[in-house]
């Protein structure tokens, strides 16, 4: 388990992280979401030891993470970082060796990831000669080349074409299947929802919600219903307490309901012929907006 416990970090007067805690299980794909400036990158930098927290600590398999442990972590920063003039293969071997691999292991690992991520033809070119998409593949290879125990990726999907997204998603799923915790941040919430078992939502340096997506939905408090009443306007909703009209379209309305939903059905039937009455699963995007607005 990777545990983030009470992480706090200030930049001068600005509080970038305020007592942030959450846990990622081994083998879990974990989405890390929040608006720009929420503190995602700061959190990831702290996990990787690039930045020190003012308070709090990161634990891996029950022990505080030290420099030696972190060298077995893999990191892909949001601002991509490669030597532009270094050749792809040299660069990957170099990163592998910095993470403690022997020369022969580094060579083998670099060769494997170059093949796996489809940049074999460009292996002996300088990074600056590659397209941005290929540079991103090399960047990912740099995070994976030392066979890390933990993967932390800051916005790994941004700037990738749909094929690239699929390749990356498959690679990450494979790593998770091998029992590695995979944490990544993204603004593409549909993607996060599709790939991740669990998420953490943060806003202004604080954790707003964390856990499996299903639990977050259930814990949402208010539930949502889609109701369609034939031959009636939405006015029947007005008389109900604890019900908020979220959307209306033709005869169909989306309602946020607190407490008992049967009274809503009764009111709808009183208003006309009910052709649709169903619970709506809030999407991650909706949970996110709701969480961030509060």
């Amino acid at each position: 388990m990777l545990e983030l416990q009470g992480l706090t970090r200030r930049y001068g007067e600005v509080v970038a992280l305020d007592n942030l805690s959450f846990t990622v299980r081994e083998g879990q794909m974990f989405g890390f979401v929040g608006p720009n400036g929420a503190g995602k990158t700061t959190t990831m930098r702290i996990v990787l030891g690039v930045l020190e927290p003012d308070r709090g600590e990161v634990r891996w398999r029950g022990r505080p993470v030290d420099a030696e442990t972190r060298r077995r972590f893999g990191y892909m920063p949001e601002e991509r970082g490669l030597y532009p003039k270094m050749r792809v293969r040299d660069q990957l071997e170099y990163f592998a060796r910095l993470h403690g691999l022997s020369a022969t292991d580094a060579e083998r690992a670099a060769g494997y990831w170059i093949e796996r991520l489809g940049v074999a033809e460009r292996a002996d070119d300088r990074v600056e000669q590659l397209s941005l998409g290929n540079q991103q593949r090399v960047q990912l290879a740099a995070a994976l080349v030392h066979n890390p125990e933990v993967l932390v990726l800051d916005e790994p999907f941004s700037g990738l074409d749909p094929v690239g997204v699929d390749v990356l998603a498959q690679v990450l799923a494979d790593r998770a299947a091998d029992g590695i915790p995979v944490i990544f941040s993204s603004h593409q919430l549909e993607l996060v929802e599709r790939l991740c078992e669990a998420v953490a939502i943060i806003n202004r340096g604080r954790l707003v919600a964390a856990g499996p997506v299903e639990e977050l939905r259930a814990a949402g408090g208010e539930r949502r219903y889609q109701v369609e009443v034939a031959d009636a306007g939405p006015d029947w909703v007005n008389s109900l307490d604890g019900v908020t009209l979220l959307e209306k379209q033709n005869g169909r309305v989306v309602l946020a309901v607190e407490g008992d939903e049967q009274r809503v059905l009764d009111a709808a039937r009183a208003a006309g012929r009910v052709t649709l009455f169903s619970a709506v699963q809030p999407s991650l995007a909706q949970l996110f907006r709701q969480a961030v607005q509060e």
Binding site: A67, Y75, P77, G81, K85, Y94, L98, A142
Partner: protein, 403 residues
Amino acid sequence: MRTVDGIKLTARRELVERTRRDRSFLISTLVTLAILVAIIFVPKLLGSDDPTEFDVGLVGAASQPLGQVQTAQGEAAGIRIDLRQPAPPADAEAAVRDGKLDLAVINGRELVAKAEPDEQLSLLVQAASGAARAQQTLQSAGVPPAEIQAALAPPPLPVRSLEPVDEDARSKRTIATVAVFLLYGQLIGYCFTVAMGVVEEKSTRVVEVLLAAIRPVQLLAGKIIGVGLVGLIQLAIIGVVGLVVAVASNAITLPPDAAGTIGSVLLWFLLGYAFYSSMFAVAGAIVSRQEELQNTATPLNLLMIASFFVAFTASVGGGDTTLARVSTFLPPVAPLIMPLRIAGGDAAPWEIAASLAVMLVSIVAVVVLAARLYEGAILRTGARVKLGDAWRSGRRQPAAGRA
């Protein structure tokens, strides 16, 4: 992984990328060699610039007696004088104006020079004039020629030196003077390479990937050592090739302890590089783009240029001036001036020892200071980092290296 392994890996990367993978190393080595060869050969081609050879024009019969005396005395002083005979004084003046003659003697009464005549030549001609006049006077007084000869050209007085004479001082000086130029070029070039390398890592954000694997101090040390090795290899290649060319072309004679002189140049390069490079690394760490580096590196460049001028002054005016002696204990200047003073035999052993001690202590101080500033600044992108801020955040970081 031990600290030293991280340093080795980063140093090796610098060495391989900058020598094997980058053609500019080969090009800059060749260009420096070409300049060096030019410095060796150009004075030979422009013979008139040689301070031991002069062309003197003698105009009119009255000037002729000076000629013989001049050549004879010149030879005694190690100066060769070629005598020319331009007919009218106007031609002689024109020849002096054109630089074909260094000096013209007009009718035994007047010396014509283009501007300030060479001091040594002028003394020689004045003395010759005095001797010629004396010879005439003695002749007309009826003194026998043999006595005149004995009176006017007595055998030279023997010289007894109180301290041993270093026959090779000139060659050593030449080597050391060229070495100071090379040292300055290498120092400024490779220190700036360190600064640019730091900015490159920062501006491409590769530093973030690196610092997830190794500590800032490992990255900094590896870069400085790797780039320094590249500079040292280049300096050694240039030094050896330059010396071979200079000796083969008879520009200098190889003093027996030439190896010692070259060794001292390499040693002082290392010390100077150790002193300056970490400061240049800080100049790179506090900015985020290459263009901004010019501003932050300027104070360091100025310090280096000023030090070079002090050393250059010593190479012209001798290594035993007060300025040269004081500079021995000034860490920014010492690496540039010490090879000269040592080669010229101007530095006492205690001065060398004290200079080395001051140098080593200040290197440790500068490196410790720079490492902290580097740590504090290297991850802050955007606006230029103030040194005070870098200093304060440098102290917050040590736990990053907890291992």
